[in-house]
C-alpha cells in the first residue's frame, strides 16, 4: 500500500468516522473486484463487501486508538472479505464461480473505470493480457491459484496473504513460486504450440 495513504490513515485514526470514510473511498472497489472474482455474481459481491465494511466499522469503533493507528488496514479488510466470502461459499457453494467465470469480466469493467485517461487501444491490450493471464491462472491447482491471484491481481504482500489465509509465510511462498513456475510452463507450452 502507498505509504502516504498509510500515514494519512494513521493520522485520521482518532476520528473513526473520517478514517472509515477514507477506507471506503480507497478500498470499496478493490474489495468488490476481489469478491467478485470469487462469487462471479455482482449482487452477491456487493452484499458481501457491504457486510465487510459494516463489520469493519463495528470493529474499528471497538479497537483502541493505538490498534487503529498500527493497523495494516488493507490486508485486514481483505482478511475480513476472505472470511465472509468463504462463509458465503460454504452456505451456497453452487453460486460460487471460478476465477475465470464472469468474475474477471466484472473486475475488468471495474478496473476500466480507473483508466479513463489511457488510450483505448492500450486498455484493450491490457484487458486481453489480463484475460489471458487469468485464463492461465484458472488452470492452476486451487491452492496455487488463490495465492497467485492475491499476489498478482490484488497486489498483496506475501506476509499479508499468509495472514489472510492463515497459512505460514513459507507455505505461501512455496505456493506462489510453484504457481508461477506452472504458469511459465503453461505459457511456454502455448507459445510453442502457436509457433
Amino acid at each position: 500500500m502507498d505509504i502516504c495513504i498509510e500515514e494519512r490513515l494513521s493520522q485520521l485514526a482518532d476520528d473513526v468516522d473520517q478514517y472509515y470514510e477514507l477506507l471506503v473511498e480507497l478500498y470499496w472497489h478493490q474489495l468488490k473486484a476481489f469478491v467478485l472474482r470469487r462469487t462471479g455474481n455482482p449482487q452477491d459481491a456487493e452484499d458481501i463487501v457491504q457486510d465487510v465494511f459494516v463489520r469493519a466499522y463495528v470493529a474499528l469503533e471497538r479497537y483502541p486508538l493505538q490498534q487503529r493507528r498500527s493497523l495494516k488496514v488493507r490486508a485486514w479488510l481483505y482478511k475480513i472479505a476472505w472470511n465472509l466470502t468463504s462463509n458465503f461459499a460454504s452456505r451456497s457453494p453452487q453460486s460460487m464461480l471460478s476465477l475465470h467465470d464472469g468474475g474477471s469480466e466484472g473486475n475488468i469493467l471495474l478496473d476500466q473505470e480507473d483508466k479513463e485517461t489511457e488510450h483505448p487501444e492500450d486498455i484493450i491490450e491490457q484487458i486481453e493480457r489480463k484475460q489471458e493471464l487469468e485464463a492461465l491462472v484458472e488452470t492452476l491447482p486451487q491452492h496455487y491459484k488463490l495465492v497467485v491471484c492475491l499476489y498478482y491481481f490484488e497486489e498483496l504482500k506475501l506476509q499479508e496473504i499468509a495472514d489472510i489465509l492463515n497459512q505460514p509465510l513459507g507455505t505461501v511462498k512455496v505456493y506462489a513460486r510453484r504457481g508461477i513456475q506452472a504458469l511459465r510452463k503453461s505459457l511456454a507450452k502455448e507459445i510453442n504450440e502457436v509457433g
Binding site: 473520517q18 457491504q50 465494511f53 466499522y57 492463515n166 513459507g170
Partner: protein
Amino acid sequence: MEFDEHEHQQSKSQRPNIPQHSSSPSISPVLAYLGLSSPSTTHPEETMGQLLTELLHEKWSVRVAAVRKLEKFKERAPLAALLHMLEDEHQAVRAATVRALGKINQEIPLDPLLSMLHDSDWHVRATVLGTVSKYSDRVPIEPLVSALGDLDESVRAAAIAAIGSLGERAPIAPLVAALHDYTWTVREAAALALGNMADRAPIKPLLAAMEDVDRAVRQAAEQSLHQTHPEFFVKKQKQQENVDLPASQEIGSHAKDQPQERLPEDGTARVIDLAAFRDTRTVSTIKPQEQDNASSPGPAIPVELPEHQLLKSNPNKIIWSEQTDDFRSKQSATSMPKQQEQMPVSVLEKRAMAQPDRREHTTRKRSLATPARRIRLPERGLIAAVLIAICLPWLFLSLNQHIHTASTINQWAIATTFQHHDTTGSISTAIWTSAPSAPDTNCVAFADTSGHVEVWDPLTNRRVNTYGPFVKVLALTGTTNHLYIAALTQNGSIQILEDGLTKQVLPLKGSQHTTGSFSPDGTYFSVALNTSGDSTIHTWNIITGKEEPHTYTAQPGMVETIVWPAQGSIVASVSTDNQTNEIEIWNATTGQSILPAQPVPYINTNLAVVAMAWSPDGQRLAYMLADESVSIYNRQSGGGPFTTTPTDPGNGLQNQNALAWSPDGKYLATSQANGEIQIWDASLDANTGTPLGTYQTHNAQITTLAWSPDNSKRIVGGDNTGNIWVLTAM
C-alpha cells in the same frame, strides 16, 4: 442488509480531506447505512424540530441520518424520541439509535437496550454491546456473558470487548474461554480485553494465545502481555542475554568453564517461564498445513538441550516474521541466510491448538535449532533444587485456582467453537460421531428436514462427508467406527445405511409419520410406522439383519418418540392420543412394559412431551413437557429425583425442544423457547433441580442437543433455522 442506491447521493465537496476517487461518482451505500453520508456537523439551520420530523421520514436512510445528527446534541438530545426509534422497522435505524444512546452523555435506561440483544440483526446486537460498555459501572454482567454464545462473530467480539470494559467487575474465565473461539476476530478481542485486566490477566492463556495460528491474535496477546505483565518481557530479555552464546565460542568448553552463566541472574523468572511454556506446549501443536515450516533449513545437530534453553526461539521464526517481502525480486529465495540463524526473537515459536501428537516434533525442531550444551551432574542437582523451590509454590497456586474453578461450576465459561449454517433445512438431529477416514476424530453429524446428512469436523471446521438427500432421515447414530443412518427412500422403504452404504432395507413401508431410533451402539433400530392408528414398534438387529421376535404393541395412539439408552435394552417411547400423552418404558427384547401396571401402565403427562433422553447408565429418563418443565424418572426408585419448573416459560407451549445428558450423567442440558440452553445439576447427590447456568442466546428454536461423549464438555446443538454449533465449556 438493504441499501438504496438512490438515497445516498452526495457531493464530495461536502467531505474535505477525502481523496477523490475518479471512479466513484457516488458514495458507497454502506456510508448511508451507517449514517455517514451526511456532513459530520449539523447545519445550523437544522433545528431539533426538523430532525425530529425527519425521524418520521419514509426513507430509512433519512431516519438514520437524523439519528446521527441528533446524537450530536449530546445532553440536549431527545432521549424519549431516540428510545422510540429503537422499535424502528429498519435495522440500520435501530443500530444508529443504539449507537446514539451511547454518545449522548445521558443517564439512559439500560433495560430497553439490553432487550435488543435479542434483535434479529447482528449489527444491532453488536452495537448494543458497544453502547452498554460505556455504562460499565451499572451494566449487568450476565447478558454480556450470554452474548458470548451469539452465533455471529462480530457480536461475540463486541461482547468480549464489553466484558473487557468492566474493569474490576469483569469475569476472567469467559475472556479466557473466548481465546478458543473458532474465529480470529473473537480471539483477538479476547486477547485485547485481557490487556485491560491489569495484573488479573492470567499469563498462561496469553502465552498460549501468542502461539495462535492467527497473527492478529498473536500480536494482540503480546500487546496485552506487555500491558499486564511487562516484567515477563524484561526477564525474558535478560534471560536471552544470559543464554545467548557467541557464535564462535565452543559450546562444550563454555559449559565447562563458566557453569554459573548457564543460569540467568533471575532464576525464578526462568523457571516460571518454562513452566508456563510447558503448559502451553501440552495443549498446542502445529496444524498439518503448517508443516511447510519443517522444511525450512536449520542447523541439524542433534544435541541434548538444557531445559531452560527451550525458551530460546526457533530461528525459523525470524525468517518468516522479519524477512521482508522480497519474493518479487528473488522468487527462488526460500533458504535462510546463515547470519540470521542465531538471531534471538522476542516471542515464542508459533504453534496452533490441539493435536498433542505433534509435541515431539516441535521439541525436536527446537532442539535442532539451538546450540548444544551439556550440564554436569552437580549442576543438574542445583538446577533441580531451584526448579523445585520455585515450582512448588507456583504449582500449589495453580492447583488452588483449578479447584476454585471446579467448585464454581455455575461460572462455566462457554465458547462457541464451531458454527455452520445449513441452507437446506432446519436441523432435526445432531450427534457426535467419528469420521470413517479418521476414527479418532470427534465429528458432528446432523440431519436436516430436507433429508440431507452432513458430517463436519468441528476442530478444522471442514465438512467430512455428505449423504442424501433422503425423503426423510429417521435417525442417526455414530459409533467409533461407523455412522448409521435410517432413512425413508422414494419408494417408501426404510433404509439402514452404514457410512453411506446401504446395509439393510427393512421389509416395511414407512410413511411421513414414521418414527425411528437407533440404539447408541448401532446394534438395534426401532421403528413405529404410525399408519392408520397402528402403534406397533418393531425392532431390528442391525448386525444380524433380523427383526427381534417381540414387537411392542401395547401403547395406544401415535408414537412420536422412541429413545434407546446407551446401555441395556430398556426403551422409552412417547405417544399421544386424544390429548393424552403417555410415556412407556419397555424391554425391547421381550416387548413387555417394565412400568408397574397400577394405577396406569404409563407415565401420564398432561402436556405433550417435547424432548426425552436416557441418562448414560440407562437408569434415569429425563423428559421435558411443552411448558418447558423438566422431570427425571428414576427406574430404580420409580420417581424423579426432581421436577423443575421453567425459569422462563416463554409465551406459550412448545412443540419441540431438546435435552441431553453429559456423558458422566451429572449434568443435563436443556433448551428453552427463547433459544437459551440451561445446564442443570442432575447428579444423584445434588438433586436440587436448580439450573447451574444459562447459555446461548439466539432467537431460533433449538431442536437437538448432544453432549460430546469424550468428557470434553462440548455440546452440539441445532435449531429450526438451520444453524448448527458447538459450545465448549472451559
